[in-house]
C-alpha cells in the first residue's frame, strides 16, 4: 500500500493536502509535490483535499498512473519537506480549469 501524487499536480501545486498531513510526508520541487512512502501512513486525509484529484491510494491507483509510485519514492526523499501551505504556482487556476475541475 502506498499513497502517491500524480501528474495532475504538475504546474498546480496547490498544497491543500499538506495542511492535513499528519506526518509531514509531502516534499516539493519547482513543479509539483511528492509523497515519501517511508513516512506516509496511508491515512488518506490528503486525497479529498486536492482540488485537481492528483492523489491516489494503493488499491485505487489507475494503471496508467502506476509509474508515479516509483517517481514519488525516488524523488521525495531528496527534496525539501513541504509542511505548510504555499501559494499555488502561477497559472495553477488555468491549469485546474483545463483539467476540468
Amino acid at each position: 500500500m502506498t499513497t502517491i501524487v500524480t501528474d495532475n499536480c504538475k504546474d498546480c501545486r496547490f498544497t491543500d493536502c499538506v495542511t492535513v498531513c499528519p506526518v509531514a510526508c509531502f516534499h516539493y520541487d519547482d513543479v509539483m509535490l511528492y509523497i515519501d512512502p517511508d513516512v506516509c501512513i496511508d491515512c488518506s486525509a490528503c486525497i479529498p483535499e486536492c482540488p485537481v484529484q492528483a492523489i491516489y491510494e494503493g488499491d485505487d491507483i489507475p494503471e496508467d498512473k502506476e509509474q508515479w509510485i516509483e517517481i514519488n519514492a525516488e524523488r521525495a526523499p531528496n527534496l525539501p519537506v513541504c509542511e505548510e501551505q504555499m501559494d499555488p504556482l502561477p497559472g495553477a487556476e488555468e491549469r485546474k480549469a483545463a483539467l476540468g475541475f
Partner: protein, 460 residues
C-alpha cells in the same frame, strides 16, 4: 518586564488532552518564532488519545503518527503532565493563573443516543465502549460484551462503524498479531456472531466510510460483504450527488457497494457482513436482554447534498442479540468551560472559546473534535489546531499578564499537595517500553496495560 513571547518572558500554554489535536497544537506553538513553553495535561497515564485507543488495532500503520508526536515531545519547550484530570485535579482557574493561554483538545468522549425505547437493554452498546474495550482503554477495561448470539447490528455508516464491524468480522488469526487487548482477543475468540448488519439511515450514496475502510470488507479471510442490488437504486437527487466531480469519494463508496452486490457468495466463508440503507431503529425489544430490533424504513427528501432521511411508517423486524450504535460523538463538559449542549462541543470562533452568546472568553482556546465536532480523520486535526494556534498568537497582546506566570511549577505544587502522581513523558517512555516488551513474545507490536495501577507500577 520583557515582551511576552521573548526568552525572559516566554508565552506559557497549557493544552488539555494529548491526542492528535493536542500534539498538533503543541507542534504549531513550538514551531512559531516566539519563545513558547507548552505543557500537555492528560487524564490517563498514557498519551496519544484516539491514536492509541481509537484507531483500530489492525490499522497499525496509522498508529505510526505517534512517531511524529514523540519527536514533538523531545523539544526542550515541551512537557507532558499525564495522569491528571483537568476540572477535578486542577481547576480552570488554577490553569489560567499558571499559564497565559489554555487550549482544550479533549475530543468527543461521549456518544449520541438513538433515543428509542429499549436503548438501555443489555446487549445494546455504544461503539465508543466497544472500541475503548478492544483497544485496552482503562475506562472500558471491565466492560463485558456478550457475543453469544449469531446476529450483531451496527447502527451508523462512518469509519467507527466500519471498525467495529470489521473487528467482529475478522478471525482471531487476523487480529492476534495486532495490539488488540488480550481480554478482547479472548472474548472475540469465543464469538458466535455469523451475521453483521451495518445499517445507515440514509442511502448508499450518503454513507460516510472512507473508500479505503470499506474496501477492506472485500478482503476478509472468513467474511463476505453483502449488498442487495435493489438497495443500490438511487433517487435522482442521489444520482446527481454522485455525478458531481468533487464528490469522488462517495462515488467510490457507491462503486464498492456495487462490486459487493455482484459478488458470488463464497460459501466457504462462515460470516457475512450486510450493508443496508434507509433504515432507522425504532424500538429495541427483549426481556432481560436485546432480542429484536424494529427498524423503520426511511425515504430521502431535500436538495442534492442536503437530503435528510424521514421515516415512512413501514417497519421491519430483525432478530439480533447485540447492537452497537455509532451515530456520532459528543464532548463532555468541563467545569468552568462553556459548553454547547446541542452540539456537544465548546463554543468557539476559529478556536477562540466564546460564551454561548458568542462573547470571547479570555485565555481559552480549543481545537480538534471538541472544537468542531466529530468529523475528519487524524490529519484533519492538524489544520484545525494550526488555525487555533494562529488565533492564539494573534492575541498575544491580550494574553500579557502583569506578573511572570509560574507555568508547570504551580501545577506540580498543587498536584503534590493533593498527592496526585503525575507522569512525565520520560516516565511514559518506560511504560511504553514495557508494553512493547510484553507484546514481543506474542508477536504483537505491544501488549497494552489496561489498568492505570499497572501502568503506575512500572514507574514506581
Amino acid at each position: 518586564m520583557s515582551n511576552l513571547g521573548t526568552e525572559d518572558n516566554p508565552l506559557l500554554v497549557a493544552i488539555v488532552g494529548s491526542g492528535p489535536s493536542g500534539f498538533y497544537a503543541a507542534e504549531a506553538l513550538i514551531k512559531s518564532e516566539l519563545h513558547i513553553k507548552v505543557d500537555i495535561l492528560e487524564r490517563l497515564p498514557a498519551p496519544f488519545g484516539l491514536v492509541r485507543s481509537g484507531v483500530a488495532p489492525d490499522h497499525q500503520k496509522l498508529k505510526q503518527a505517534i512517531k511524529l508526536y514523540e519527536k514533538i515531545a523531545e523539544s526542550p519547550d515541551f512537557k507532558l503532565i499525564a495522569n491528571v484530570t483537568v476540572g477535578t485535579d486542577i481547576s480552570i482557574k488554577e490553569l489560567c493563573d499558571a499559564y497565559h493561554a489554555i487550549i482544550f483538545t479533549c475530543g468527543a468522549e461521549s456518544d449520541r443516543k438513538l433515543g428509542v425505547h429499549g436503548e438501555n437493554l443489555k446487549g445494546s452498546y455504544t461503539a465508543t465502549e466497544f472500541v475503548g474495550w478492544y483497544n485496552g482503554h482503562p475506562d472500558y477495561r471491565n466492560r463485558e460484551f456478550d457475543l453469544s448470539d449469531d446476529v450483531a447490528v451496527i447502527i451508523g455508516q462512518g469509519n467507527v462503524a466500519a471498525d467495529v464491524s470489521r473487528i467482529l468480522s475478522k478471525t482471531i488469526d487476523e487480529l492476534k498479531h495486532t495490539d488488540i487487548a488480550q481480554h478482547a482477543l479472548d472474548t472475540l475468540a469465543e464469538s458466535k456472531i455469523k451475521e453483521i448488519h451495518v445499517i445507515g439511515r440514509r442511502g448508499p450514496a450518503q454513507a460516510k466510510f472512507t473508500p479505503k475502510e470499506l474496501r477492506e470488507f472485500g478482503e476478509l479471510l472468513d467474511c463476505d460483504p453483502v449488498v442487495l442490488k435493489q438497495d443500490l437504486i438511487l433517487n435522482s437527487e442521489s444520482a446527481r450527488e454522485l455525478a458531481e466531480k468533487s464528490n469522488i469519494a462517495s462515488k467510490k463508496i457507491y462503486d464498492l457497494f456495487c462490486e459487493f452486490s455482484e459478488r458470488v457468495p463464497d460459501t466457504a466463508k462462515s460470516k457475512k457482513c450486510f450493508f443496508s440503507f434507509l433504515m432507522s431503529p425504532k424500538e429495541l425489544i427483549g426481556d432481560s436482554k436485546l432480542e429484536k430490533i424494529i427498524l423503520e424504513k426511511n425515504k430521502l427528501s431535500g436538495e442534492p447534498f442536503k437530503q435528510s432521511a424521514r421515516g415512512t411508517g413501514e417497519t421491519i423486524e430483525l432478530d439480533a442479540g447485540i447492537l452497537f450504535r455509532s451515530i456520532g460523538y459528543r464532548g463532555i463538559p468541563i467545569e468552568g468551560v462553556p459548553f454547547n449542549d446541542n452540539w456537544g462541543t465548546i463554543p468557539n470562533d476559529k478556536g477562540r472559546v466564546t460564551n454561548l452568546d458568542g462573547n470571547l472568553v479570555p485565555q481559552l482556546y480549543t481545537a480538534g473534535w471538541i472544537k468542531r465536532g466529530p468529523s475528519g480523520i487524524i490529519g484533519t486535526n492538524r489544520a484545525c489546531s494550526v488555525e487555533t494556534v494562529e488565533c492564539l498568537i494573534e492575541d498575544l497582546d491580550k494574553l500579557k499578564s502583569d506578573t511572570i506566570k509560574p507555568g508547570a511549577q504551580a501545577i506540580y505544587t498543587i498536584l503534590n499537595k493533593k498527592k496526585i502522581r503525575h507522569i512525565s513523558f520520560d516516565e511514559w517512555k518506560k511504560i511504553d517500553a514495557k508494553e512493547i516488551e510484553q507484546g514481543d513474545s506474542k508477536g504483537k507490536p505491544r501488549e497494552k496495560f489496561t489498568r492505570i495501577s499497572e501502568m503506575l507500577s512500572v514507574i514506581e
